[in-house]
């Protein structure tokens, strides 16, 4: 939205921040101060003023530079997470009325999108000092998974994205942040903004790098603050390079942090403050707890006068704060918050003593290593098999990825001898592998005689 005097990410960075902040990608490092006299976008900022800009990059570093340069310039910034299928990308382009593309890839790779204006971004800062005056309150659009498999587009502003950072105090300037997350997802974007606005540096991960190489690189840069999902951390603790970092602060989010992973992290990083945070793309950051125990104190709820209001309704955690997203793009009928302004996270909690514990997600949504799986999407694929009558996809707990997907299947005809079932299981799984991302493919299929139906007439779902 155009406005007279908006502050932008660039204008929020003080000269001191710029001089100290280095973005370390796997392939290159860039000092933000270099952007004072050049651009990663070849100085083509004016072409992108007011436009709806889709950022599709192979490397996180180039995405990071584009975000720093384009907040306040672009009308809308749409952050494309890695590995988004091209058919979903076309949906995103239409829904967000994208009319410009920023990429670090060859033009041919993005040609199918058919967006007229293409600007290349690369980590070499070139050209003269660009005109950086902000004239737009840029809408930041993040993608999250929807029930049909197509992404949901969630709109934020820089102000909503940084609400938790403003409230949380500023870490010392010598901080070197890192995250296993991709910064084009909410959890990673929070760390990116925390690093920049706190005047720290940031070590970005890379999908093309092993866990050990990433930890090595993070250790070399002297990482002090590092975040990831419990699954990221379990993987890190199984790496011989786990002790190459010696952070002061370890943060977990994106999945339920159980007591086992908190205890293991304490064992390995005995000097670090270990905090597990709760946040979602729609609701923003709710809290970070660092008392070493799973769950969170019930006293965090119903506190008058605090920035983040939390309550439990119909079993799930609800959050009202300046960190809430603004709206969904493309689905005007779907309200993000209730009449009182609370966003239902869909995360179910259970009160035990004076503490709440996360027990799963409403609607049976399964969280596999931080990636959401909607059962309906998987069931639709299984039900395509001509011998399947009905199926139910549910969660199985995993100490490695938090959860795994399993399926109960009712066949149209009577059960067969064991060897026939094995063949059928292979056929169903092949269908799933052809149509679904690997984390959505059931890891086991149980053939069952019937499935329970709830009083509502819908299939009964245990909460994942």
């Amino acid at each position: 939205m155009p406005c007279d005097d908006p502050s932008s990410l660039w204008s929020s960075l003080s000269a001191g921040c710029l001089a100290q902040c280095v973005l370390h990608g796997a392939e290159a490092s860039v000092t933000l101060a270099d952007l004072s006299h050049g651009s990663s976008l070849g100085g083509r900022l004016e072409e992108l003023r007011g436009r709806s800009v889709l950022v599709v990059t192979r490397h996180q570093l180039t995405a990071a530079l584009a975000l720093v340069e384009l907040d306040g310039i672009a009308g809308r910034l749409v952050l494309c997470p890695p590995n988004l299928p091209i058919e979903h990308l076309a949906f995103v382009v239409a829904t967000a009325a994208v009319d410009a593309l920023v990429t670090d890839q060859a033009a041919a790779a993005v040609e199918p999108l058919d967006i007229g204006r293409l600007v290349t971004c690369n980590p070499r800062i070139t050209g003269a000092e660009p005109e950086r005056s902000a004239r737009h309150r840029t809408e930041w659009v993040l993608l999250t998974s929807g029930t049909t498999g197509q992404p949901k587009l969630v709109a934020h502003t820089l102000s909503s994205l940084t609400a938790a950072i403003r409230d949380g105090g500023t870490p010392p300037r010598s901080s070197v942040w890192s995250t296993f997350y991709d910064i084009r997802r909410y959890g990673g974007l929070q760390i990116f903004l925390r690093a920049l606005l706190g005047g720290g540096s940031l070590v970005l991960s890379s999908a093309e790098e092993s866990t050990a190489d990433f930890l090595d690189r993070a250790g070399t840069h002297g990482v002090t603050h590092i975040s990831g999902t419990p699954s990221h951390w379990r993987r890190a603790l199984m790496s011989p390079a786990a002790r190459r970092i010696s952070p002061r602060y370890v943060r977990l989010s994106g999945e339920i942090a159980d007591q086992a992973i908190l205890d293991h992290l304490r064992l390995v990083y005995s000097e670090a403050r270990i905090a597990h945070a709760f946040a979602s793309t729609e609701a923003g950051v709710a809290f970070a707890v660092d008392d070493g125990f799973a769950g969170f104190p019930a006293s965090l709820l119903h506190r008058p006068g605090v920035e983040v209001q939390m309550k439990v309704g119909a079993g799930s955690l609800r959050i009202r704060s300046a960190g809430n997203a603004i709206r969904y793009l493309g689905c005007p009928a779907e309200l993000l918050a209730d009449a009182d302004g609370f966003v239902d996270t869909g995360d179910l909690v259970d009160l035990r003593g004076d503490r709440y514990y996360f027990i799963g997600r409403r609607g049976g949504v399964i969280n596999v290593g931080g990636l959401k799986v909607h059962p309906e999407e998987v069931e639709a694929v299984i039900n395509r098999h001509p011998r399947v009558w009905i199926s139910r996809v549910r969660s199985r707990k995993s100490p490695i990825t938090g959860a795994l997907v399993v399926a109960d299947v009712v066949l149209k005809t009577a059960p067969e001898p064991a060897h026939g079932r094995v063949g059928l299981e292979h056929e169903i799984l092949r269908l799933c592998r052809e149509a679904l991302a690997p984390h959505k493919v059931p890891t086991a299929i149980d053939f069952v005689p019937t499935l329970a139906v709830a009083a509502s007439g819908k299939m009964a779902r245990a909460n994942a």
Partner: protein, 81 residues
């Protein structure tokens, strides 16, 4: 069957199902260099829980996570004892 046999056959089975190229299964093989990703390891751990009835990853709170295949086998050996 010994724990070792169960573990090795599951590594091979899951690698084949998930179309992953498995490194030679030596005791000193670093698990994260085995060619299997976290999803594969999660499937192996789930199937081991079904066959052996133990999940040492959840149970053991004072032991380091296994890094090599040899440590992984010992992790389960200790748990079933």
């Amino acid at each position: 069957m010994s724990v070792r046999t169960d573990v090795v056959s599951l590594f091979e089975q899951v690698a084949a199902q998930q179309k992953k190229k498995l490194a030679p299964l030596l005791d000193e093989l670093v698990l994260l260099d085995s060619g299997l990703d976290s999803l594969c390891l999660a499937i192996i751990v789930a199937r081991l829980e079904d066959t052996l009835g133990v999940d040492p990853f959840t149970a053991a709170q004072d032991a380091d996570f296994p890094v090599t295949l040899g440590e992984f086998i010992r992790f389960y050996d200790d748990a079933v004892r």
